[in-house]
């Protein structure tokens, strides 16, 4: 079976200009990511700020070219697809419901945009498909005439989902789709995504910093740190038995609603990850609670076994 998405050593750097008095810095936002996702699966990518997950999302969507490496969608290289073919295959849902909708357009035009961009879809059919999609995501037909400013955060996110699905794409990349929403609305949107995925046979890439949400919706999970996947595993395996020290730290930081348990000591120290200054050797070693001397000297190699991958010097 051809993978829905395959990433081969994808890299992306940016030059951060230093101005007159400081040197230019190279920011290695994505530093060699490889993964593959089967059709119908949900790849959850978790990581904290600076790990490069949003940059990776844009590369997968074809919005940003990779500096190196390859992205294959259903076996075909992404950069070989023209914009219309690509739009039929892969669509986004972004984090901020306020900035992901054009404030000057009505909902019906926003959702119709992918259809209009394809060309050759008569206005009447566009209207029909838009109305059908709005209903599918739980919005009333009256919403079509509204402007984004008149909608709540949850409603706007539904509009964004309707827009993403109106072309019936195979793959939807969700970049923190619920992080900006209230908890009660978050659950509504997650349920909607899960339901649509089942009904439409979608493959999802779901990016989030919230592990609990990822556990609920993902089938495969990749943990990202400073531009690389440091651990990948099927979801139950990852949460039951995390192998990489960073994964363990992330899981330990999740505050479950259990009173009396106090706040865990996560043991990561004070330094923070800076993609412009990636440490030599294992990139996690300055913060790692179990780092040894050799971790600063050798770069870890990913060890794959029984469908799981871990990139840790101590595991190799």
């Amino acid at each position: 079976m051809t993978a829905a998405i395959a990433l081969h050593d994808v890299r992306r750097s940016f030059i951060s200009r230093g101005g007159m008095f400081a040197p230019d810095r190279v920011v290695r936002a994505v530093d060699g990511v490889s993964a593959s996702l089967d059709p119908g699966g949900v790849l959850g990518i978790v990581g904290e700020s600076g790990c490069g997950k949003s940059t990776l999302a844009r590369i997968i969507l074809g919005l940003l070219p990779a500096s190196a490496g390859e992205v294959l969608v259903e076996g075909r290289p992404l950069d070989a697809l023209d914009r219309r073919k690509r739009a039929r295959l892969i669509q986004p849902v972004f984090q901020d419901p306020f900035s992901s909708l054009n404030p000057r357009q009505r909902v019906r035009d926003i959702v119709a945009l992918p259809l209009a961009a394809q060309g050759g879809v008569p206005a009447e059919e566009r209207g029909r498909r838009v109305a059908a999609m709005l209903e599918r995501v739980g919005l009333s037909a009256a919403m079509a005439e509204r402007l984004p400013a008149e909608l709540s955060g949850g409603q706007r996110q539904r509009v964004a989902i309707a827009r993403a699905l109106v072309l019936r794409p195979r793959i939807v990349v969700c970049d923190e789709p619920t992080s900006a929403l209230d908890v009660s609305v978050q659950a509504q949107i997650l349920n909607l995504l899960a339901e649509l995925r089942r009904d439409l046979g979608l493959t999802l890439v779901f990016i989030s910093h919230n592990l609990a949400v990822v556990e609920h919706i993902a089938t495969e999970v990749a943990v990202m740190y400073l531009g690389r996947f440091v651990e990948q595993a099927p979801v139950e395996a990852l949460f039951r038995d995390p192998r990489h020290p960073y994964t363990r730290a992330l899981l330990a930081s999740v505050l479950t609603p259990e009173p009396g348990k106090g706040i865990p000591e996560v043991g990561l120290g004070e330094s923070y990850p800076d993609p412009a200054n990636i440490p030599a050797g294992c990139r996690f070693h300055p913060r790692c609670p179990v780092a040894e001397g050799r971790c600063a000297e050798m770069a870890p190699v990913g060890v794959t076994q029984a469908g799981r991958m871990v990139e840790c010097v101590l595991e190799g």
């Binding site: 969507l61 919005l63 827009r163």
Partner: protein, 277 residues
Amino acid sequence: MNLSVRSLATTLGGVIVGGVLLVAIFAPLLAPHDPYAQDLMRRLVPPEWMGGTPLNPLGTDQLGRDYLSRLLYGARISMLIGTMAVVTSGAIGITLGVLGGYFGGRVDDMVMFVITTRLSIPLILVALTVVALVGSSLTVVVLTLGLLLWDRFAVVARTTTMQVRNLDYIAAAQAAGASRVHILLREVLPNIVSHLVVVATLEMALAILLEAALSFLGLGVPPPLPSWGLMIAEGKDYMFFSPWVIMIPGITLFVLVLGINLLGDGLRDLLGAGRRV
């Protein structure tokens, strides 16, 4: 300024600009005389309230031409110049600014180079050179102003485009397969228009004042056209004995520019361009 004072000011600005526009359009119907008709027997007649006659309510100038008629026809010149200069400079500046702001990189570097070059060119010297080479006329003035006044449009268009560029709805439009042309015209432009309208009103006021200055220096509209600036220039020799010859066009110029600025301020608030994009 609190809200009601601000809206009063805006209304006043709108009334002034609207008034001048109407006068400009209907000048032939409103003017009591032909603005070019000279009457050397009736030179420098004072305005009616200063001892003149109702035949020439605002008096006459040094060639006996009715001042009110000249003033009304002069409104046409000011409004024409203001509008045409803004349209031309707007077209140039907005295109450059949007392209530079959207594409960044080399394109933006070039746009910035062009803007910086333009900023180092002195307006009056260019006007002088152009007039020396081509002679002065209404068309020359409009083109000169239009080709020189686009820098503020370009800068504002570039900055606002850069802010909008990073918003998610642009990325969503790209992912939806929209062409670059569509994105620039339908996604970017409508969201920066409010800021550009404000620039347009300011540039219009500036164009009108510049035309008056150029005409005053003899580099603008040629006589006998009733440009307000030219009227001031022609009247300066009679300043002490017939002060109305300078004062009247001076005051109307001031009032028009004030009106445009008040309107522009109000539009900025109305369209929300004062807040961040």
